[in-house]
């Protein structure tokens, strides 16, 4: 039967190494306490449902979605920056034509969201929302302003380090990733339970962009480089995965 053959031909994706992903329950991050599942996850062998995924293309993009500084009449306040990098899989292969979505606070640390009511100014020229597709080399590029740190009520005098939220689809359901990009040298890192929910120090460093002189545009904007790695393909066919 053709379906039989079909199921066996599609390799799954490698699972993440221990320590590289944050646990669901991380009590220092208070919101995890009532939202983390209490039972262990059930291992799901990858089937066609998981090795495929939405391939969302150009029809999702507006002309200025990649430039968060040009979405309104005037320019937003703050330091203009260029954030660029490549989306790769765990084997170092580019992930082309994949949707990248970003959102962030403005330069004063305020989100244009009704839930954020802390006393920092909104910027009528900044929405904080961007989208782009990766190129053939997995590359992406956004123009934006550097977001400010902002207070939250997780613990006494809690402040989030400046960050930009990233959402990536890759090309398979297993590759879906939502993460946050941080800026180098932020003094708030040791105090932030969200950043520190990732157990492995080297893994935490992978969420920090680096200053990129090559992406810096003279007289105009600082450049930051943030490469993102999604999962790589498993070498073993699906049916052998069950035997591990």
């Amino acid at each position: 039967m053709s379906e039989t053959t079909t199921g066996r031909q599609v390799p799954g994706y490698r699972r993440d190494p221990p320590g590289s992903q944050p646990p669901y329950l991380f009590p220092d991050y208070r919101s995890t306490r009532l939202r983390a599942p209490s039972r262990p996850l059930v291992l799901l062998p990858h089937t066609l449902t998981e090795v495929t995924g939405p391939l969302l293309g150009e029809d999702r993009l507006g002309e200025l979605d990649h430039d968060l500084t040009r979405q309104h009449q005037g320019e937003p306040h703050g330091q203009r920056i260029v954030v660029s990098g490549r989306v790769l899989d765990g084997d170092g292969r580019p992930v082309p034509n994949a949707l990248v979505e970003v959102w962030q606070a403005n330069a004063a640390g305020r989100y244009a969201h009704e839930v954020d009511q802390h006393p920092a100014p909104l910027d009528p020229n900044f929405s904080g929302v961007g989208r782009c597709l990766t190129g053939a080399d997995g590359g992406y590029r956004f123009v934006t302003v550097r977001p400010g740190a902002y207070p939250w009520r997780n613990h006494d005098n809690a402040w989030r380090p400046a960050h930009i939220h990233f959402s990536l689809f890759g090309r398979a359901f297993t590759q879906r990733l939502v993460t946050q990009m941080y800026f180098p040298g932020d003094p708030l890192f040791p105090l932030d339970p969200i950043f520190n929910s990732v157990p492995d120090e080297a893994a935490r460093q992978r969420m920090i962009a680096r200053f990129d002189p090559d992406a810096t545009v003279p007289e105009w904007a600082l450049g930051y480089r943030f490469d993102i790695v999604l999962r790589g393909r498993d070498a073993t066919p699906l049916d052998e995965e069950d035997d591990r």
Binding site: M1, E3, G7, R8, R15, S20, Q21, P22, Y24, Y29, S31, T32, L34, R35, A36, P37, S38, V42, L44, H46, T47, L48, T49, E50, T52, G53, P54, R60, D65, Q71, L88, G90, D91, G92, E101, W103, A105, A112, H113, V115, S127, V129, H165, S167, R171, F173, T174, R176, L177, V178, T179, Q180, I194, S197, A203, R206, M207, V229, L230, G232
Partner: protein, 190 residues
Amino acid sequence: MTLPPTPSQTIGPFFALPDPAAMTWPDGPYVVAEGTPGAFRLEGRVLDGAGEPVPDGLVESWQADPDGRFAHPDDPRGAVARPGFRGFGRCATDAGGRFWLLTVKPGPVPAPDGRSQAPHIALSIFARGLNQRLVTRVYFADEPAANAADPLLASLPEAARATLLAAPTGGGYRFDVHLQGDHETAFFDV
């Protein structure tokens, strides 16, 4: 060359920036276009460990078409694109933790062992307080024969299996997601 993965972080409370819409698209919940034959609403709530609604969650879905095919080049039977069928949906939860998707029932999808998987929809749940997404599957309570033959469902204890069955309502299905507690939904390590 093997590269270690970029870690996941919570989606946080502010992904639904309104203008332009960030992670919530105006057409987000439409896995199929309105008026598609067989279309129904899959509705539910996301609840926390205290039974309180999660008002700042994002639910995403991925599924095969009614023939069990994926519009994707890695479907070895060939990518099949159905007009008006996206296969993907997303919906932010409202103040009551409610979400909905307009979709059609997927066909059976081959399993790795050559058997057939019962019709199912893969769901990702993102929210403040979830350091990684949670993944679960929606199966359909009115497919008892297919469900009984499904290799994944068969591997689960009865109580866990029951959390994955969407209940038929008048013209649609209901599927609640319990993040934690006595009614906790079965979640998967993908």
